[in-house]
Every structure is written in C-alpha cells, then in structure tokens.
C-alpha cells in the first residue's frame, strides 16, 4: 500500500481556504518522511486558477472541472472523490472539519467503507506509527487515535490546527475528466452564500468575542471595528445569540462553533463551560471583565479587570497603532 496522502481542497472567492493549505503543509511534511506523494484534489467549475495556486503546496494537483461541480453538493462531490481515491489509492484522505467537510466526509467514508476520524486538531508519531489528536467532551479529554494496518481512513481537521508553508517546487497539475450526475431527488431552490462576512469564524486568527456584559447589540460596533483592524472576526457567547443581539453564525461554544485563533479576546464574557469548551484551544486568551471572579479568568492567559466600556475604545486605538507599526 502507498503512503500517499490526498487532501481535498476547499476554496472561496478565488483562493484556497487556509484550512486546506494547512493540511497540504502538514501532509507534505508527512509524505516527505517516506518518499510518498501528496495529492491535492481541486474540484469545481473553472477551478484551474485554484489549481495554479495549490500546485505550490502539493506534488500532484488533481483537477476535476465541470459545470455540474460549480457548487458543492454531497452527491456529485462524493462520487468524484470516490473515483479519485479508487484511482490514486492514497493511504489517507484529509479534509477540513468545516461545514462542507462535515457534510462530505462521513458520506464519502460510508461509500468507501472506511473509518473516519473527525474534528481532529493534530498529528503525532508513536515510533513510526502515525496518530491523530482529537479532543473529546469539549476539550476535557484529548484522545490519540491510530489506524490498523491496511486501513485508508478519512481524517478531518479543525481550521487553525497547523501552520501554512509553501514549498519551493511546483507540483504537477493533472486534469481528470469525471462526470458527476446530480441526484434528482435533491433539488436546490436557492443559495445564499452570505458574502459580507470577511473571514470564516473558525479560520480567523483573531477573534474578539462579546458576552452579555456588552449590554446590547448597539455596542458591538467597536468589536467590529477592532476585528476589521485585526483582519479577524467578531464572535458571540450563547447568551448574546439567544438574545438575538448577534447571529447564530457568530456563536462560539459547545452549541456554536469551536474556534482556535492565535488570539482570542473575550469582552464581558463570563466564561460558562459551554463557551470555554468552544474556545479553550485558542493559542492566547485575553479576558476583559469587571468581575474579578468571572470564570473566564480561569481559562485566560491575560486578564483586565475593568469596565469594558472604558477599555474597548482604548483597545481599538492601541491595536490600530500596532497595525500601523507593522
């Protein structure tokens, strides 16, 4: 069996998603150990530009380009990747634990009758044996999972699990003509891709999250300004979303999104367990809260005990200065 790795590449607005480039970077590091091949699968319509970018990250870029693949659908994408996996026989298939990945990979794994490990956050080695790191119970337990010999699993990883590095040589682009018929039983009536949100919450390097202490939706503008300055995203606690101050798409936590940005700043977030379960894999956590006993301080690296309405305007100004320096 090969030791090759196949990464399913997601892209948006003409560029590959960061999570896909992270997986390619990690995949390259692994295949290089044993002279195996790293494949990047780019599937879609008029996706050749993406392939040109991705070839800086993979040994071989497999492009399947046809009109039926313009938008992601599980039926067409599963059957295309199924055929690619059968042809190229990789030892593992990697993808992002994204909205698309969570829809696609289980169905693909069932089609191929292989196991799947989802929502992983890392890769390690035990002797020569590869093992996958996956949090359980909202991060209360970290499990390490390995595969029996001869198994070619699917593994999906959370965004921000690895760093992105381009390597020096360009890979070969191979076009595969695979036809994929749409399932007539599933008719898409309309599609709203959002569009206005700049960065995906799970992929953001910087998240500033507002809690109940923000006192109302009108006060989130300063968080928006800070997020824009930092190229990040505004998040919200469950209480805030339940009060309809922010959309569900912004929710960080157990019943919302699990995030691991490089820097997370919680403002007026108390730090209830269901929230911290969704953010405690963040690299650096800052909490601003006027209550020194707020549980969030038990998770934070740095804390400011003060009224956030005094802190936020200054924080906005100072972060803007920092950005100008760079």
């Amino acid at each position: 069996m090969t030791k090759d790795i196949f990464v399913f590449v997601e892209y948006k607005d003409g560029s590959a998603r960061k999570v896909s480039l992270e997986l390619l970077t990690k995949g390259k590091e692994i295949v290089e150990k044993n002279g195996a091949t790293l494949y990047a699968g780019v599937i879609g319509f008029q996706a050749k530009d993406i392939a040109e970018v991705v070839k800086g990250f993979a040994d071989k870029v497999i492009v399947v380009d046809n009109e039926n693949l313009k938008d992601y659908r599980y039926d067409t994408y599963v059957s295309v990747i199924e055929q690619l996996v059968k042809k190229y026989q990789p030892s593992m298939v990697f993808g992002g634990s994204t909205v698309t990945g969570k829809d696609l990979f289980p169905r693909l794994a069932a089609r191929l009758n292989v196991p799947i490990v989802s929502d992983a956050v890392g890769i390690g080695f035990d002797g020569g044996r590869l093992k996958i790191k996956k949090p359980l119970y909202g991060g209360k337990v970290i499990s390490w999972i390995s595969f029996k010999d001869g198994i070619s699993p699917m593994v999906t990883f959370r965004p921000n699990s690895f760093t992105v590095e381009k390597f020096s040589t360009n890979g070969e682009v191979i076009e595969e003509a695979i036809d994929a018929a749409k399932d007539q039983k599933y008719a898409v009536l309309s599609m709203d891709k959002g569009g206005t949100k700049k960065v995906d919450l799970q992929e953001a390097d910087f998240i500033i999250c507002g809690g109940r202490g923000m006192k109302g939706p009108e006060h989130f503008q300063v968080l928006e300004d800070i997020a824009t300055t930092m190229g990040g995203r505004v998040g919200a606690s469950r209480a805030v979303v339940d009060s309809k101050w922010r959309e569900y798409d912004d929710q960080v936590g157990k019943s919302g999104k699990t995030v691991s940005p490089k820097l997370y700043i919680g403002c007026g977030v108390s730090g209830a367990l269901h929230h911290t379960m969704g953010m405690d894999t963040s690299k650096v956590i800052v909490a601003v809260n006027k209550d020194p006993n707020a549980p969030i301080f038990g998770y934070a690296d740095y804390g400011i005990v003060d009224d956030l309405f005094n802190i936020l305007p200054v924080l906005k100004e100072e972060l803007a200065k920092t950005k100008q320096e760079i």
């Binding site: 969570k102 289980p106 069932a110 499990s143 007539q184 599933y186 919302g256 820097l263």
Partner: protein, 263 residues
C-alpha cells in the same frame, strides 16, 4: 409515515470526567442527557406527526443500558415507540460501525423519514447521520434550520452551507440532521413523563439486525485509541494592572507583543 429519530445519550457538559489508570478509558460522572442537537430532531418529528396524523415516531439509540433514560425523555416528548440497541460487549467509538447498526435497524423497521442531531456533543463527530443516509442510499441534508414536510413525498428545508444557507426540496425517504435554531424543543408534559415512566422499551441485540458479527464486534474497527490524556493546563491568568484603562491596555498590548508574541 414512519419517522425514525436516532438519538444519543451523552455526558452532561457539567459532568466530571476522569481518565482511568489504563489511559485508554474514562470514568464519567453519572449525569447523562439526550444529546442537545437531537432534541431539535425530536421536536421536528413530533411536529411532523401533528401535521400527518397517521405517522409514527420511532426513536432509537445504539448505546449502553443507561441510554434507556434518554429514550424515556423522547417518549415523554411524544415519541410513539423506542428501541435500545444494546451495545454491551460491542462498545465502539467508530462511527462507521454505529452507522452500520443504525442503518440496519432502519432497514428492518422501514422508514419514510429519518431525523437526528447534527452532531453529538461528546465526540463532536457529526458523522453518523450522513453515513446512515449513504448506507441506505437516500438523500441527506446536514444542519437543517427550517424543515417542513410538504406531503408524503416531499420535504422543504433550509440548511447551513459554507458561509450561508441553502433552500432545497428533497424527495422522501431522506435523512436530515438538525441544527440549533430549527425549533424550540418542547418540555415534556407531566402526562408524557408518566407515559414514559411506564413505557416498555424493548432491547435489541445488535447481532440480530442481519449484520455479520465480525463487522460490528470489538475487533471490527479499523481505528484504535492509543491513549487518552488531560489537556494541558494553562498557567494561572496574569491580571494586567494599571492606574487607568489606558495604562492597562498599553500594558496588555506590550505583553501580547513581547511575551505572548500574539501581535
């Protein structure tokens, strides 16, 4: 219409969890609930039954004996029947095997519509729904936020897609996984709770579902847990002091730059 709801009993988010000395298994405080996202599936099933009166809501889980309590919750909410497929001696973390068992159950029972939560909050896999649909050869939609059974053949839904949402019309039989925001799960009435307490919930032996034993037994999985460990503890919080908000923020920015290298 036969509606099947697959649920999972999961540890409460507040439950204390300890890693046993073997570093491979867990001891979980005895606080278990129906999985958060499965409650939306239950509610959608009961609403559908209210619209199509001749429907039957069957709830099923593959789990240990204690999971019968989650099935009772489902009956209290309004499920007509419940089945516990008892996993004693077959415990697995492998979604592929769980999906094989649940799809075998669905095949045996017959179904027009299958609902389940978008993911379990313990392993956060989000696998079993789409896998069952694939094994049954029916369409699926993940993370449904609007759901309406139009007639015996057609369902209209909105669901989450990358960065937005999609509306679709799906022909039954089909499977849908439910997302927060779909509905407000009902709190069982006392009459429902009484009914649930008295309900006889049959236990199903997983080997009677027509699957080969070697496909579902303890050696069936292609994955194995190497070890379990506790997450790294963060050092205690450093409270940033200062005479004024300005000073505090400046001190914060400095440590974020110099110490944490986060800016």
């Amino acid at each position: 219409m036969n509606i099947i709801v697959f649920i999972k009993q999961v540890a409460d988010t507040e439950a204390r969890i300890f890693i046993k000395n073997d570093q491979k298994s867990l001891e979980i405080e005895n606080k278990f609930n129906m999985n958060f996202f499965d409650e939306f599936a239950m509610e959608a099933a009961i609403k559908t039954k209210e619209k199509f009166k001749d429907s039957q809501v069957t709830v099923c889980t593959y789990g240990p004996k204690r999971a019968i309590e989650a099935l009772r919750t489902a009956i209290a909410m309004g499920a007509d029947r419940a089945f516990l497929i008892d996993n004693t001696g077959f415990e697995t973390e492998d979604s592929l095997i769980v999906a094989k068992i649940l799809s075998a159950f669905a095949k045996k029972e017959g179904f027009g519509l299958i609902l389940c939560g978008r993911q379990a909050i313990d392993d956060e896999n989000a696998n079993v729904g789409a896998m069952v649909a694939e094994m049954l050869g029916i369409p699926h939609a993940s993370a449904v936020i609007n759901f309406e059974v139009v007639n015996e053949k057609t369902v209209k839904i909105d669901n989450e897609i990358e960065g937005g949402k999609e509306s679709a019309e799906v022909q039954l039989p089909a499977l849908f996984t439910t997302q927060k925001g779909l509905n407000t799960p009902r709190v069982p009435l006392i009459t429902g709770v009484m009914k649930a307490m008295k309900a006889v919930i049959p236990t199903v032996d997983p080997t009677t579902l027509g699957l080969a034993k070697e496909d579902i037994d303890l050696n069936a999985s292609g994955i194995e847990t190497v070890s379990l460990e506790s997450p790294k503890q963060r050092p205690p919080v450093k409270i940033i002091d200062g005479e004024s908000p300005e000073e505090k923020v400046r001190n914060l920015i400095r440590v974020l730059k110099e110490e944490a290298k986060a800016l």
